[in-house]
Amino acid sequence: MITESDRYYHRLAFAYAAAVAAVMGTLLLEIPVQLSDSFTEFTAVHGRSLWQVTAAEFYNGTYFRPFRRALIKIVYDASAGHYYLAFRGFQALELLLLLLLVVRMLRVRSAAGLLSLPLGLAIVVGIHTFAGTVREGLPINHFLTILICCAAAVNLAQGERSPLTDVAAVALLTVATLTIESGLLIWTIFAATYFVGYRGISRSALIALTACIGMYFLGRFVLIGGGAPGLNERSAGFGFSVLSPDDLVRRFGDNPLPFYAYNFLCAISSVLLAEPRGGVWAFTRELTSGRPEPWQVVNVVTSATTTLLIARFAAVRLPRWRTAWRAEAGGEDGFDDADRFTILFLVVLPFNALFASGYEKDVIMSPAGLFYAAAAYFVFRELLSGAKFAIGPALVLVVAVGWSVRFVGIHDNLRARALSVQDEWAYYDDWARNQPNDIHLNAEEQAIRQHLYEDAVLRAPRVPQLSLGVLDRMFDLTQ
């Protein structure tokens, strides 16, 4: 039963999320369409039909992401030549949609919920796994698209059960899996939400979703004959440094399993402790040499403390979860939202890490980062609601201050990104010379290049980098 006061808190929560998205979106709109990973996408979709673009991606070797480029094609055609506005505007709208869906799934219906929301959203956008979804254009950031799908999946699962919801769930899974490999996580989310008691999706739909996953693997690896990326495709972090593809093949070519296991564990640790980053234990390295950067300390202390709070909460609730599990299986309410989101995070984390086992990168873990933030939000809400689980107020304050610094830091990071993308375009000739394949542009492609160049270099808004003196070192600009 939702009361008028519930609706009041919920509306305020939506307003706050929209305000956060508006501020961040303003900074996003200052970033030109980037050169790397974006310009060539434009030339790839230009002059081809949507079907041609999509079909070509079905047979793209180790990557299977046909809808990723299809979405780029749709926005490209809709832009009518206003690339900068269309692609950056689309990313800002995606951000708004994500935050609204997150607030909706958090079901903010109490004063404690509302008071916890600013910190919860600060974690959503301030965590290092999120940075890559807004810093990078690509030109449509498929990791951000997957985050939206994750939040949408939970929203569907929380809704009223209906045939339409079931159809929407299958459609969502299909879109996500064909956008990028980590879209398969949507199935994990649907399955986990079902078992913790969100029953907006029927058991039959869950079976259909499972069949879709089977068809995905059958289609991708048997019918189409695709493979997984090899060790020789890119550099990767290992230990205290980054290994080149040749080094990786030399060390793990005969048996890559230890490398995959290393990445899996690093991905989990990265979400929980903000260390390592990209497989490199940089904070540990700097700590042993006695000179960690202030931002590294902020990141690691904040994440480790938040993880401690979530772990403490889970430990206190664990006995209750056993009985709640039986109640849910019997069709009764056993878990509350705080339990459910903590369990969802614990399920999503290892599944998400599987996708990072070939190549550990912060942004790959962005879905786990999203559920980490949601779990933390519920821990704070429970604390404010008076739940007793022996946590020192000072510890909570450390968490609140730390995440607030990281929240400001991501905005500073976006401003720095605007300037670096402008400079990236200024060096177009150097970039073109360093590409593995020669870049030969026809007249139309030259025109696109010139348009993007002028947007980035000659018509770009003047956006000064912030200078906060010693405080600048508190912000992680490496993301």
Binding site: L115, P393, A400, V405, L458
Partner: protein, 151 residues
């Protein structure tokens, strides 16, 4: 006590939001110094800004002012290419050359390069010289090269 967890994130959001709004009204109190000449942009390695200023009509082949705090505490009048050398921005030197900012007597630029950025010497048409252990101080390099040119 626990209710105070609201304050830091709200303060952080208010700070960022206020700054974004204030900036749209022209406030630049927390902004790092923006280059106003091509030479300043070159000295700071700000490639896009250098090209913007050139497109706005600044002549990259003439000496331009560099404010105190850009290269070091001194104020200088040097050409953009020279400023890029003094700031040790190799890519910037190449970009300026491609952009037509190398149409002047190169003797002073070569002198700067010997003191600050020897790896760019071949691209300036001079013989490559071994890199010193550490680049010369900017003020010292300018003094030496100005004197050499005067003689």
């Amino acid at each position: 006590m626990t209710r105070r967890i609201l304050l830091p994130p709200i303060a952080a959001f208010a700070l960022v939001a206020l700054y974004v709004v204030a900036e749209s009204f022209g406030f630049d109190g927390l902004a790092a110094a923006e280059p106003t000449t091509v030479s300043e942009a070159a000295a700071m390695g700000r490639a896009a800004r250098a090209l913007q200023l050139m497109a706005e009509g600044q002549d990259p082949n003439r000496p331009q002012h560099i404010a105190s705090g850009v290269l070091d505490s001194g104020e200088y009048e040097v050409r953009p290419l020279e400023a890029a050398i003094l700031g040790r921005h190799l890519e910037m030197v190449r970009l300026l050359q491609r952009s037509g900012a190398a149409r002047f007597d190169m003797s002073r630029a070569i002198c700067f390069a010997r003191a600050r950025l020897p790896e760019v010497l071949p691209e300036l048409g001079a013989e490559h010289a071994a890199s010193p252990d550490a680049p010369a101080e900017i003020a010292a390099a300018i003094t030496i090269c100005m004197q050499a040119q005067a003689q």
